[in-house]
Symmetry: C2
Amino acid sequence: MFENLRFSGKRPIYLQIKDYIKKMILAGLLQPGVKLPSTRELAEMLKVSRNSVISAYQYLEDDGFILMEKGRGAFVSFTEVKSEPGLVLTWEEMVTDYARLAAALDIEKKELKWEKGMISFKSIAPDPSLFGLEDFKKSFLQRFSLEGAKLLNYGYAKGYKQLMEYIMEYMKNKGLNPAGKDIMITNGFTEGFNLVLSALLHRGDRIVCENPTHNTAIKIMNLAGLRICGVKMREDGICVEELKKLLAGGGIKAGFLIPSYHNPTGLVMSPEKRVEILKIFTDYQVPIIEDGFNEELRFSGSHVAPLIALSGKGNGVIYIGSFSKILFPGLRIGWVIGDAKLISYLESVKRSANIHTSFPDQAILYEYLQNGYFERYLKKARKVYKERHDCAVRLARQYIPATRIWGEGGLHIFVELAGVNARTLLRECYKRNVLYMPGDIFYTNGGGENAFRLGISRVNLEQIETGIKVIGEVIEGLQ
Amino acid sequence: MFENLRFSGKRPIYLQIKDYIKKMILAGLLQPGVKLPSTRELAEMLKVSRNSVISAYQYLEDDGFILMEKGRGAFVSFTEVKSEPGLVLTWEEMVTDYARLAAALDIEKKELKWEKGMISFKSIAPDPSLFGLEDFKKSFLQRFSLEGAKLLNYGYAKGYKQLMEYIMEYMKNKGLNPAGKDIMITNGFTEGFNLVLSALLHRGDRIVCENPTHNTAIKIMNLAGLRICGVKMREDGICVEELKKLLAGGGIKAGFLIPSYHNPTGLVMSPEKRVEILKIFTDYQVPIIEDGFNEELRFSGSHVAPLIALSGKGNGVIYIGSFSKILFPGLRIGWVIGDAKLISYLESVKRSANIHTSFPDQAILYEYLQNGYFERYLKKARKVYKERHDCAVRLARQYIPATRIWGEGGLHIFVELAGVNARTLLRECYKRNVLYMPGDIFYTNGGGENAFRLGISRVNLEQIETGIKVIGEVIEGLQ
């Protein structure tokens, strides 16, 4: 039976021999007590070096599958014990409502899927061809040369110290007053938002947010059992009157806001409006969770300070940031900045969730940032994305009959159609290999049936043109 | 004021100039409308190349802090808007009971801390000097050469395909029957256990486990609001009679078991006992969550199949595995194997928690495993840890008056003292620079006052001898 062993790939020969013999033992083809061929015999049979077989036998003995007896040879020592019939459960009936809701709200499982050859405006993930892999490799090698294997051991729940310090400086350069504040590294925005909600709100609590808003945030708020109070968006952002009325009514425990390049509308809240919003939340003593989403992707205009910077020495804003939206999302690195006492609680919550975020990843990212590679990347990325964004806005205006096309920056535009259902349209576009994100998933409580989001990060100028023309044609056909 | 700029470190000069000018603008030292020095002037003043200043000004303009007017120069454009007095909240009064409990159960914040020069038996983290950094670097470079920048973009909630396949094979080599089962990658055991509990149990549900057991598991079960039913340990593992009685009483929703190198006792449950335990859980139709903790660290004896393997085609065992306990804990990679339908729910729960586990980390680990580096590492690590383990057992028997010293493998031994309080002893040992983990943290409902765990992974043979002698001397002094 050994002669059936075929070697493949680059896995070492002796390990392939080990794996094969283990499989035969586990399958009962080699019973306990059976003597294996001598290392010389097996080496000849398999046409490999005797050393390979000796190594394989050593590993099998280390793993407790065979026993080497001096002068007598190798014997199978593993006794397979099978329990029959085994525990069989009906999991569909056993999972919690929480798991069921997570599955029900999982758009990855429900929305139409991209297939090869399609033009997809669905994604707002960055374009990996812009990443500059060499800079990443350099950062990896430099950091490991400096710190060695200890980077691979356990780290700290709050994060890798140098990365935390770098990001605090980075945020100070956006106007953050660091007094009394602290930072924690998370597995991206998603985890940061989950941790903050678990430390701040109870099931049944009410939270206010823009409507529409980031669909993942809606999912997380729903899973946390919160009652979501969406406030409609005006031309210049969240409707102040409605917000005031809601807060005045009492019982709102927190606000969730995306002041810059709001997802999905792409709006940037003006500095004046930011100050006004801060004042309203201050009047009602309600904390703000600020999503720093794509803040780096401003294509024009003056720098606008985030709410946490505008609130100066105040401690009522919790800022969740992430480079992952534009840089290396595969790494899953984000951060939370807020009052130091709150961060200390969050640190314990994070430790209980998953000990800490990958330390090698944090260290490599730090090296990458410190070396100035991020600024260089951003310059290039802004240029490419701005071109695509401008192109999409221009063509959408030309080909798509819309009541409004939103978008001041970021990786997407948001289209409100005149009387066309976006899901009906999507089904037709899909037949013509064009895909986008239907607008209704961004609404907290119905609405958005006529809207959709066009992500521009994973399509080139030619695809943007083709895709938008298709959408326009399909709309014409529908009318 | 520009002359105060001092360059440091390896961060590019132009970015240091940019950072500095930003800081001055944010501090109000450069007011909106102020003209900056010409690039030539500033270059001379700072003794840097003019190109560095030009780049710095370009980045400042990109970031929206200055405006370049053709033929006129660069002007500060950022208008600082400060909101006064800002939102100030009393976070101590606002955080949830969940966050409070996480902080209260956070032993990192409460237990005595290691300081330089101390001999610490507290840790069971692996010894990074065994890691073989070159193999890790090679794996990084090989994987990125093959797959490039796409490894840095978003991945999939379930995990990196090749790693999942590799681990399924690896588990098949421990006897797993893969039919109807699936796998998901998590951020280590801790996250895996959290996700499984959230999908399987409600607050107030009862769960049965060994007593003592893994302290992090106790924390997680407490945070999930579960009622923990600890079953005492006998010489050969969990007390079968007590377990039967508990399950017969009804209302137990799941079991959590560590069959191999049980933490903290180090016991390995015999194959016969495993079959018996499986039968009991089958009789009462209660699922088992199996912690594959340190299963790789067997130092002697035959291979013992995990419960999930013994249950054959059954789907009632959920196996949580992790290499992180012995290899690269900084990467945070673990896995859950169980019924495919359950894994599908867990996939959605994982996506809502943090999208996915770091893809570069998963890809590097896959390459490392595939190349056979893990087996080579394990051979070396087993040898070193076995030596330390044997040494610790021998010396503990010699110097520590104990009613029992537990430990068949793994990275620790567990000592039950005869009438000495382990925390009193710890306080005295700490004065003599010796540290260990008090036993009470491993008990579900009081107990363990006279026990402690000695981790042997981060101490060499000399330190083990010195440390254990100190413990012995301190005990003598206390009596």
